[in-house]
């Protein structure tokens, strides 16, 4: 039987899709089931109920989804502003293989070190008696130490910038790397200004990378328990903390309901990002 050379045998990928369904999707679907049951005295009550969702509303827990999304969105935006120029420079700006290698290595190494040891260091720096407050007091800029430097939304955002920078750079770098130098040269030869080339050639071609970068950065941040716990000092309650508190008393149903709520929001947002990316990527070409 004739197969065109571009044909992919369904068996090659469907087998993994099947495994994925069994080990990843079924357990995830289980969350939906849990969220429609209730717990009484550490026991599950097998009776459909929306009690778990009502609890999410009445305890004010739904607010953690909003706060978590807000923090993740701010940090993701900061990462885009920092990472796009850097990834572009890395992929197309520098001609030195050494600089490129060292930069990429520097972005990779932090993954080997535990996030908590890296994060806890900020506490000394941002604390009431830390060097920043000491310097500001010394200079007479402030009379009292600033208490919002630490254990605040500010410190959480600051602490998240470092750990989630590489996840934004990698996919962007990969996407920029794939842009043919000749396309850029052609754009120049046709008289396009650098800004025009950036917006009309590089951005559309780099969009899949940006989309992936947003997903890589935004989504794991939603579930990050370490930075908000260490730098939020319990004043910034995010999703992971709220879920953990529920799991300590084996309250699976409310934990599931809260997660389902976040999942629905995330899927909606990511679909939107993907749709926009797809449209612009096509339009740009």
């Amino acid at each position: 039987m004739f197969r065109p050379p571009t044909h992919v045998a369904p068996a090659s990928y469907m087998s993994f899709v099947l495994i994925w369904g069994l080990v990843a999707l079924l357990p995830t679907a289980g969350l939906l089931l849990w969220s429609t049951l209730t717990m009484e005295n550490f026991q599950i009550v097998w009776e459909p109920s929306l009690q778990a969702y009502r609890d999410v509303l009445s305890s004010g827990r739904w607010q953690v989804t909003i706060r978590t999304l807000e923090i993740a969105a701010i940090v993701t935006l900061i990462e885009i502003l920092l990472a796009v120029p850097f990834a572009l420079w890395l992929a197309k700006g520098t001609k030195s293989a050494g600089v490129r290698t060292v930069s990429l290595a520097l972005l990779t190494i932090p993954f080997f070190l535990s996030l908590s040891s890296r994060t806890i260091v900020w506490r000394g720096v941002l604390g009431l008696n830390g060097p920043i407050n000491a310097a500001l007091l010394q200079l007479g800029i402030i009379q009292e130490p600033l208490d919002w430097l630490l254990f605040s939304q500010f410190s959480v955002i600051l602490g998240l910038i470092g750990p989630y920078f590489p996840t934004m750079v990698f996919p962007l770098y990969l996407a920029f790397m794939l842009i043919d130098d000749e396309v850029l040269a052609a754009s120049k030869d046709l008289g396009a200004s650098p800004a025009f080339t950036f917006w009309n050639v590089i951005v559309p071609l780099g969009l899949p990378g940006l989309g992936a970068g947003i997903v890589f950065t935004f989504v794991p941040m939603i579930g990050d328990p370490v930075v908000p716990e260490l730098l939020g000092g319990g004043n910034v309650v995010v999703l992971s903390a709220s879920v953990q508190s529920l799991l300590r008393i084996l309250n699976y149903t409310v934990a599931s309901a809260l997660s389902v709520l976040m999942l629905v929001i995330l899927v909606a947002m990511i679909s939107l990002v993907a749709a926009i990316t797809a449209r612009f990527a096509k339009g740009g070409l």
Binding site: P5, H7, V8, S12, Y13, V17, W20, G21, V23, A24, L25, P27, T28, G30, L31, W34, L82, P85, L88, W89, L90, K92, A97, T101, V102, L104, A105, L106, I109, P110, F112, L113, S114, S117, R118, V121, I161, F165, F170, P171, L174, A175, M177, L178, G191, A192, S193, P194, T197, F198, P208, A212, V215, G223, P225, S240, V243, S256, L263, V267
Partner: protein, 276 residues
């Protein structure tokens, strides 16, 4: 003073324009200092007599000596490396299979992509619990190394999948037609035409998978059975009622040194030499 030179072409190649380069280097420098200032501090404190005091010095290597005497961290480290390697290899193979297929299937591209990415959007503790309930309570299986591997794979695979997908979306399938016209068979087409084009995405994906697995903790707590990984070990040390932090600092520094050497070597081989 700017060192602008008179030039024949009034519009320079954008990548030759200094403003862009400087901006890229500056933002990179800012972000990297955010990452590495804490790490340097960690190094300094690891050789300080009182690492918790917040002030460096007087300097000593005592804690390194103690670390080498206490070998509790060796087994967890080996477990972590073994799991991360397995996750990386399986992620690379699976992402290649699916990543190359998605741009070429006619229907359900979007759904299939979504289905592959779904588990990464659930907070770690929740997916850990969901998997625990499924395997342990539902299927009555004893947890251990394999469930850690599976939990990490579910976490890491979407990332490596996306890495491959970025590259695969840009792959011109007409090259395969051309290769077929020139008489090469399916295996040769894959090996000599397709794979070289996808290589960067696959390798980055594998690397990503390794790193994500190596540092994973939220899912591991629920899936470990009796097995300890390095992050679990470190976290337990920090949670105990007496301070083991002096040993965590030098351990992190040792990992820093070894991983730096490995990463530098790997990157030089993979990216540094080939593209100049």
């Amino acid at each position: 003073m700017s060192n602008r030179q008179p030039t024949i072409n009034p519009i320079p190649h954008w990548s030759e324009k200094h403003g862009w380069r400087r901006l890229g280097a500056v933002t990179g420098f800012i972000a990297l200092s955010f990452i590495f200032a804490p790490i340097l501090w960690l190094v300094v404190m690891s050789v300080s007599e009182d690492p918790l005091s917040g002030f460096p010095g007087p300097f000593t290597l005592t804690y390194y000596g103690q670390l080498l005497e206490q070998t509790g961290w060796v087994d967890p480290l080996l477990n972590s490396v073994a799991i991360a390697l397995g996750v990386a290899v399986v992620s690379m193979i699976a992402s290649t299979l699916i990543g190359r297929a998605i741009p070429r299937i006619r229907r359900g591209q979007f759904t299939l992509t979504g289905v592959m990415l779904l588990p990464m959007m659930i907070p770690g503790v929740v997916i850990g619990t969901a998997l625990f309930l499924y395997f342990r309570v539902g299927l009555d299986m004893k947890l251990g190394l394999w469930s850690l591997f599976l939990g990490h794979l579910i976490w890491a695979f979407p990332f490596s999948f996306l890495s491959v997908l970025i590259v695969a979306l840009r792959f011109d399938v007409r090259l395969l037609d051309a290769a077929a016209d020139l008489g090469s068979g399916p295996l040769e087409r894959f090996w000599r035409v397709e794979l070289p084009q996808l290589k960067d995405g696959i390798i980055s994906g594998g690397l990503f998978a390794f790193l994500l697995s190596f540092n994973e903790i939220a899912r591991s707590i629920y899936l470990r059975g009796k097995t300890e990984t390095l992050p679990i070990y470190l976290w337990q040390q920090a949670a105990s009622h007496s301070s083991h932090v002096p040993l965590i600092y030098p351990l992190n520094v040792l990992i820093l040194i070894v991983s730096s050497a490995l990463v530098a070597l790997a990157f030089w081989v993979l990216f540094g030499r080939t593209k100049t």
